[in-house]
Subunit: 133 residues, 2 copies
DNA sequence: ATAAGGGTTCCCCTTACTGGAAGGTCAAGG
DNA sequence: CCTTGACCTTCCAGTAAGGGGAACCCTTAT
């Protein structure tokens, strides 16, 4: 199977597949012409990677997940620990973004959005440093 | 004022301040010794930038916001439009992250997390491609 | 004189790819 | 046999927003 076929089946662009080989996530065979020759197992792995990435796991997480996936003697607690850490990171990101969202929404609401220069958004960014200063 | 003083006052690391000069957000004077000589206005701008960044605006957004900030004849609608677009991007990110969070939380809940290899998390990443296949 | 603690530039590193150039390969048609 | 077009290959550069560190200059105090 050539790379574009694998791209179709795994859902990953050819560029990404080459990149994943580069960083050692997969190791497809090569034909006499130098073309990558992918086995079904490669497609399987790439599909796995695509899904793990879609859940927001980093490449390094994916590397670990892949190793656990291939290790039939793994402990599910190891997988769970990875997922929990990742979940915690995501929850922190969401919290940060929610803070931004609230502030921004308030500011957008407070701004008249007309042709006058007065703007609470810019006021908020302008330096009220601190009263005590 | 030298750069470390400005770092303290603006809350930005010296590296970031140099970077912001590099990309043309600020243009401090130079002393005879080659040192950057910051005016209060520079500190003011940097503080503005720090806050805009803290609200998640990209550098390019910051560049536009800074221009509007300095333009006394601006229309607040221009500022508001920028903020609304940014708000929309943030809300999309939050939505994506919430999807991930839900899925991950379900998976973490479903995983026993013991020393057995059976794991719903890996199952979810494994390829159930499609039944019809 | 020298040591500490500023400052400066420069280049590489990060994440996870994406785009593009230059060139080899393959299958079909004239 | 030649060409054309669609593949494939490698390598180089760039993204966002800086961080780390080297090598070197400036200032001030001892």
């Amino acid at each position: 199977m050539n790379i574009s076929q694998v791209a179709l089946r795994s859902g990953l662009p050819p560029k990404t597949i080459r990149y994943y080989e580069d960083i050692g996530l997969i190791a497809p065979d090569r034909g006499a012409n130098g073309y990558r020759q992918f086995a079904d197992e490669d497609v399987h792995k790439l599909t796995f990677l695509n899904r793990a990435r879609a859940l927001g796991f980093t490449i390094e997480d994916c590397r670990k997940l892949l190793a656990l996936w291939e290790d039939q003697t793994r402990a599910s607690s190891d997988v769970r620990a990875l997922a929990r850490e990742h979940l915690a990171r995501i929850e922190m990101k969401i919290a940060d973004l929610n803070d931004m969202r609230r502030t921004l929404a308030d500011l957008v609401d407070a701004c008249a959005g007309d042709d006058r220069p007065d703007c609470p958004i810019l006021k908020r960014l302008d330096a009220p440093l601190d009263i005590r200063d």
